[in-house]
């Protein structure tokens, strides 16, 4: 029973990963892609982590899985922010230099 639930969660998480990759490939510009990516991979990893921790043997493993999920969520949020800020600044300077010319 527990295995079944874990399997379902992992399968659902994998679907989110696939969705994120499709978004990465199909969305038109960098901001849309960023949106698809951070949402999808954050949620996908959360579901997989939940499924895996249901199958874990010791509490230590569960703790480490939760820690991993926490760090990935944090890094992906901040990474998304940094990339977006970078892309926006690049766009601005490009526009600025065009107007200057």
């Amino acid at each position: 029973m527990l295995d079944l639930v874990a399997g379902l969660l992992i399968a659902l998480g994998t679907v989110f990963f696939v969705a994120g990759t499709v978004g990465l490939l199909r969305f038109p510009d960098i901001y849309c892609r960023l949106h698809a990516l951070t949402k999808a991979d954050g949620l996908g990893l959360a579901l997989i982590a939940l499924g895996a921790s249901l199958m874990a043997r010791t509490p230590g493993e569960v703790f480490r899985i939760v820690l991993i999920w926490f760090f990935v969520a944090l890094a992906s949020a901040v990474g998304g922010h940094l990339i977006a800020a970078y892309a926006r600044r690049m766009d601005r300077t490009r526009e600025g230099s065009l107007r200057h010319d």
Binding site: F71, L74, A75, V78, H81, L82, A85
Partner: protein, 326 residues
């Protein structure tokens, strides 16, 4: 025999080879570097699959941390100094005359021959010939630690590891000499979100690095993995200019560089003084000595790797040596 993971293995192996080809064949250098980072990621996965978590840890820590940042820094420098917006300008400076077709074909044939020879040797070798496993597991009780890889690194083959620390020291000396007197770049503006992230993550990385070091005695982990993870803290501090190396910190950095080598060699000398061979630690103190060496070597590795990334020696701005010293 029918391992359900065999398809996964085949797919992973195929993608690793494809990525290796892509690293060398894509035109844009930045893409090549990103593909190389992904290549490192997948080879770490393959090593995990081959039941080598220590190696996977080392590759993960060094490959995704220091190596990627170093490559990106070098590319940034190349494009900046050829001051073209595109990489074509950079290529004009470094590229030379086109290579004649015959040379390329001869090179490819030579490499194919090498690969063929290796493949014949590899497939013809006896399956799982006698390794060092029996020797190592016999000697484990005398090593003072419970994890075989750590025992090999710091006890049975400690000379190798000592030399490895010396190589790191030599590298940082060389880099300081090569980059003598270059000036500092201004700080990037990374914003509030980054500041909050740094406050939360940097201490966490320190904790995890120390945990890896501590765990090395009985499970995968150890000085190199711990040091590489700690070096990432240094990298993040240097990149975001939360820490700017001051000329007055040079002495401290030099002490940190030689700390690992010094303690390692010092312990060896001490053991010889007790009438033993250099790395034959007395069994009752073996664990203490190994942990002492590992702890200090970790600090040394972390500082050295961060310094290797930073490159130039911190000198005062109006120091006599300037960039135009040639």
């Amino acid at each position: 025999m029918t391992d359900p993971l065999i398809l996964f293995d085949l797919l992973l192996a195929g993608s690793i080879v494809a990525l290796a080809v892509a690293v060398l064949s894509v035109r844009d250098l930045f893409t090549a570097i990103v593909v190389f980072i992904v290549f490192g990621l997948l080879s770490a996965l393959a090593w995990a699959r081959l039941a080598a978590p220590d190696v996977a840890l080392a590759e993960a820590a060094i490959g995704t941390g220091v190596t990627g940042a170093l490559l990106l820094k070098t590319l940034h420098h190349l494009r900046h100094f050829s001051d073209g917006q595109t990489q074509d300008a950079a290529r004009d400076l470094t590229a030379v005359q086109p290579v004649p077709m015959g040379v390329t074909v001869a090179n490819a044939a030579f490499c194919g021959l090498v690969a063929l020879g290796l493949a014949v040797a590899f497939l013809g070798a006896p399956q799982a010939g006698p390794g060092f496993d029996a020797l190592v597991s016999d000697a484990m009780p005398h090593s003072g630690v419970a994890h075989p890889v750590t025992a090999v690194l710091l006890n049975f083959r400690a000379y190798d590891t000592l030399m490895e620390v010396v190589v790191l020291l030599a590298a940082v000396i060389a880099v300081w000499q090569i980059e003598r007197g270059l000036t500092e770049a201004p700080a990037p503006a990374l914003g509030m979100v980054w500041a909050g992230f740094a406050r939360l993550t940097l201490p966490a990385i320190v904790v995890i690095g120390t945990y890896l070091l501590w765990k090395g005695a009985e499970a995968p982990g150890g000085a190199f993995q711990g040091g590489a993870v700690l070096a990432a803290v240094g990298l993040l501090l240097l990149l975001s200019r939360l820490y700017v190396p001051q000329p007055s910190h040079r002495g401290l950095a030099r002490w940190a560089f030689v700390l690992g080598t010094g303690v390692f060699a010092g312990v060896a000398l001490l053991v010889t003084g007790g009438g033993r061979v250099a790395f034959q630690y007395p069994p009752e103190h073996a664990k203490t000595l190994i942990l002492l060496i590992e702890g200090l070597v970790t600090i040394s590795i972390a500082v050295t790797l961060a310094a290797l990334f930073h490159g130039r020696e911190p000198v005062a701005l109006n120091a006599p040596e300037s960039r135009h010293d040639t």
